[in-house]
Symmetry: C2
Subunit: 378 residues, 2 copies
């Protein structure tokens, strides 16, 4: 683990929101930061140069998917994920925990490992903490994650506690298994919606001195209020000088609420998946571009946006989706990632200026002014 | 019709291949030229900037598709196809003839018009020569085409003759219907595989003095040899000082054979469609990137190619197709268009240097050296 890996540059005087920087051999990541999701080693439909032009510094790739296809050995032979996918910037790989418990057909989980059937070809795969690290070392990302035991919520307290405790034991084994010194291993806080379990998990992992911490097992069906509450009681027990990553979250409003509670790093499929489904994020709220109201609309999605989609009239973007042309998903994906990255840049600027709370209020006011139909009358 | 619309710059001394230039208000088109197909107002998966970077100067769009969706009035209200689709360069629209007779459910065709059912919503549409021109004037392309009567081959000589004669009558009506002076209307030579009908059609249309001529109704199931023969007997009857466009053709080898027979302009879905289906064109022959042999291949598709796909290892391109990621079709589309445009640039250079025949031989030798499995042992 390279040191200093994370620099905490400033804390907003009013809100406590954090401005920091991850330093990796593949370049810096200004935080708070949003990582687009490149599940199978590609952010769907987006070439690296274009991804870079959205303001993206770091991307996430999924260990589960890549170990099944093309296989981590293929990636390793090609020189690792950065060279395989031609992404020169920082990469984070998750450990596969979430996908095993959501996508795969899980056959057994005990302390030794999770055993599941591949969703690609049905073959039996064993993923232990040691193998999760080995695979991630083959892939070669800058940040790698401990294997955690994710369970569906709501769940009995006992099941939540068992999974949390197992996640801690697995985190320790991941650390012991690590052989590469150039990757930063993050541990994942679990504990469902049980306050005391979250606190205990955070404290125990904090004592183990990982280079970074994630909050996992959220955005799995609980309310936003519950999620914010869990963040609020968890982050104070994480070391201030280490980066904090909220996994799989979320909507623009969730990002701001989490930043206010001390989160530095995010990933989510929302900008890319929603973009493919014809939904564009804007500062005036979401635009559902298939709506008939845009049939003859000559305006861009957003006047101030520098993305490739915003050179076109909305009428053309709508036409692309109505005609099932893949340029539609491509363009709205680019717009949405650009939107998320613009939002995070504004967040960083607001923290530096000690006015994050005001910025937060302003954003909510503008998003709120938009009806769910999209454009807020603009 | 703006004059001089076409400049014949040079004729190769050995082969008779032509080097020319179309001059439009949206910029020049160096010929021989290849137009990628943007059926519904978009070359599938390719943004205008990237399309430009392939070397593309002019694109084709389909009147039939655009009149059905989004409708030519929508395009006209948005300022025409150039502004709607944000393509600043020259555009050619076909008349809809080919699609009516191939895609739509044709219900009736007589001298007045073709009547068919839309493949989008089943509604009845009447396309007369006058309407074909009106729609193309609303779309606003630089080059527009007369409505022709296309029939499937083989067909009885009488049916071929009737369709050819109707195409001539319709061409005249299209010319009379034209109200915009800033679009160049090309007439289309029909006549199937009947030599005398082709010659008669070419002569009659030539006498009507259109600003350009197309050879239509080819590449519809006949052999390559038959197609080349029809070209060979047709082009001598077209005016030398007017551009000649071979519609819907073809493979790289077809392009060279047609250039040798005096063709200046081409369009074809082959580079884009084959690219989406994992087939890449190279100077050493086709590469079928799904082949297992590329699983761990670190080389680019083609060393000398400047396209975005050729920054990636073949192993990654293969992975994208195996994982059904849309970046695969996007990248191979870009590669193939770039390949076609590089080929046409080399063709133009060879004609200027009076060595087209040698260049042609060289290309065939290299393509031939590649086994159908792809890389020719490279």
């Amino acid at each position: 683990m390279s040191d200093p890996f994370f620099r905490l540059l400033h804390i907003d005087r009013q809100s406590g929101a954090r401005r920091g920087r991850l330093v990796t051999v593949h370049g810096p990541v200004e935080t708070p930061a949003f990582m687009p999701v490149g599940t199978q080693g590609t952010v769907k439909g987006v070439m690296p140069e274009l991804l870079r032009s959205t303001g993206t510094q770091m991307i996430l790739a999924n260990t589960y998917h890549l170990m099944l296809r093309p296989g981590e050995q293929v990636v390793a032979e090609l020189g690792g994920l950065h060279r395989f996918a031609c992404w020169p910037g920082p990469i984070l790989t998750d450990s596969g925990g979430f996908q095993i418990f959501s996508l795969a057909k899980l056959t057994r989980v005990d302390d030794s490992a999770a055993v599941f059937r591949s969703h690609v070809d049905g073959s039996v795969v064993v993923l232990s903490p040691e193998r999760a690290v080995a695979v991630q070392e083959s892939l070669g990302a800058d940040v790698i994650m401990t294997l955690d035991h994710v369970i569906a919520l709501p769940a009995p307290r006992e099941a939540v506690r068992d999974a949390m405790q197992r996640s801690i034991r697995w985190a320790e084994r991941c650390r012991l298994a690590q052989s590469r010194r150039d990757q930063s291993l993050f541990a994942i806080v679990q504990g469902g919606l049980e306050e005391d379990l979250r606190v205990r998990c955070a404290r125990e992992l904090a004592a183990m001195d990982f280079p970074g911490y994630a909050v996992g097992g959220l955005s799995v069906g609980e309310s936003a209020k519950e999620m914010y509450h869990i963040l609020e009681i968890t982050t104070p027990h994480l070391p201030e000088e280490k980066p904090r990553y909220l996994m799989g979250v979320g909507r623009p409003t969730d990002l701001l609420e989490a930043v206010r509670r001390g989160i530095d790093l995010f990933d989510c499929v929302m900008p890319t998946r929603n973009g493919r489904n014809a939904m564009a994020f804007t500062h005036r709220g979401p635009v559902r571009i298939r709506n008939r109201r845009y049939e003859r609309d000559a305006r861009p999605l957003e006047n101030s946006c520098p993305c490739p989609a915003c050179q076109f009239p909305r009428a053309y973007l709508r036409h692309l989706f109505m005609a099932k042309e893949m340029l539609g998903p491509i363009l709205l994906t680019l717009h949405n990632i650009t939107y998320y990255q613009r939002l995070m840049r504004e967040v960083r600027n607001a923290i530096e200026a000690d006015c994050f709370a005001e910025y937060h209020q302003e954003r909510i006011a503008h998003w709120g002014s938009a009806a769910t139909d999209g454009t807020g009358g603009s």
